[in-house]
Symmetry: C2
Subunit: 223 residues, 2 copies
């Protein structure tokens, strides 16, 4: 079935990475994939726009079904391949409730990290304000403190002992925090979580290639 899937992706994009981790976990290797470039604005190319009219990575298709939204792709894949590879929605009601809550809280990270990293890209020079950027940093600090609190209380993964959809969806943003200089001493539980998962097979196999060859920017070291 993986031969029926096509992923157009950019290196270092957490939404792309989520789908790639998911496909590994469900043993769906061998899909068609094409690494494209943000710098060359490939996300606005006809090839991508034909699949994803918002002009964003990823563009992802399973057969005729377009599933560009990473949450959509992961939930659909889990539903269609329940018994293949890792089971990613736990049966236990407790773990399931926690998994759903954490996986959607992940969207707060997905909003607050890019607000800082992409500030200069998104905001024209004449509209930039140091105070705005500082406000975004304060918001991210409060956000990461929440996750530090959550991860202090759990055992290994976001919804308990088991690796679940919440980890597939949130880990790439946690990795991005450290890529951008997050201080491990200030957030020991987040760092422990990061270190315990970064060598997991599905994650290691899909690590953003540009992250392996170029250093990150220390833009989040003060948060």
């Amino acid at each position: 079935m993986a031969k029926d899937m096509t992923l157009l992706w950019g290196s270092g994009s957490p939404p792309c990475w989520r789908i790639m981790i998911m496909l590994e976990e469900k043993q769906l290797q061998g899909y068609n994939q094409k690494l494209l470039s943000f710098e060359k604005m490939d996300h606005k190319s006809k090839e991508v726009m034909d699949m994803n009219p918002r002009g964003q990575f990823p563009a992802f298709k399973i057969g005729k079904h377009v599933l560009n939204e990473s949450y959509a792709a992961c939930l659909f894949l889990e539903n269609q391949y329940k018994s293949q590879g890792t089971k990613l929605i736990p049966d236990s009601v407790d773990a399931q409730a926690l998994m759903y809550q954490r996986m959607f809280e992940g969207s707060a990270l997905a909003e607050k990290i890019p607000a800082i990293l992409l500030y200069n890209y998104r905001v024209p020079e004449e509209e930039r304000h140091d105070a705005a950027l500082q406000r975004y940093k304060d918001a991210l600090t409060a956000e990461v403190k929440l996750w530090e609190g959550y991860l202090k209380k759990t055992d290994c993964c976001l919804a308990g002992k088991e690796f679940t959809l919440a980890d597939v969806l949130v880990f790439p943003y946690i990795a991005m925090l450290f890529r951008c200089g997050l201080c491990s001493e200030r957030y020991p539980a987040v760092a422990k979580y990061y270190n315990s998962l970064k060598d997991r097979a599905s994650i290691k196999a899909t690590w953003p290639p540009t992250w392996l060859t170029t250093p990150g920017r220390d833009i989040l070291k003060t948060i």
Copy 2:
């Protein structure tokens, strides 16, 4: 079971409304609920912060499980009450793929509408720029055009003939567009969708009470 549920909510908040529509669809009436006030800053009250540390509506609990994130609450409820009330995840692979894709594309509306409506609330006066607000309006225009295209092709609901989770999650933002003056002539398919669902029992029963008694602002009539 609904007696075990508590919802702290604000009128006109689409995330709150989603959960309320969901509870109606699953025949889970009779839950504990408390209508609180944005104007009085109740979302930053201890009562809300104890359940939702980000200080946002909704704060929602099922038994001991906190499910403040509306997508989390709806997916969890559908999983736990599959055979009760409306079945909201279709069996057909085609409809399911489309449902997941559209429900998460809904997050683009959830980002782009508040960027305009809450601009003055979020951005201090000395940082406001007409050009930024215009950019947000252009982005929302492009976004609503996408939905117009989607809804032209479907039969009634977002994922086909059946009312699904995608409608529970996206409809409140569509309603907000019209509450804020969206032009029906310019977006006839979106208007048709809105009109076909606004009197559905679950939606009518949970219509934001402040919307019934006060007029909306025409802030989106030019998009």
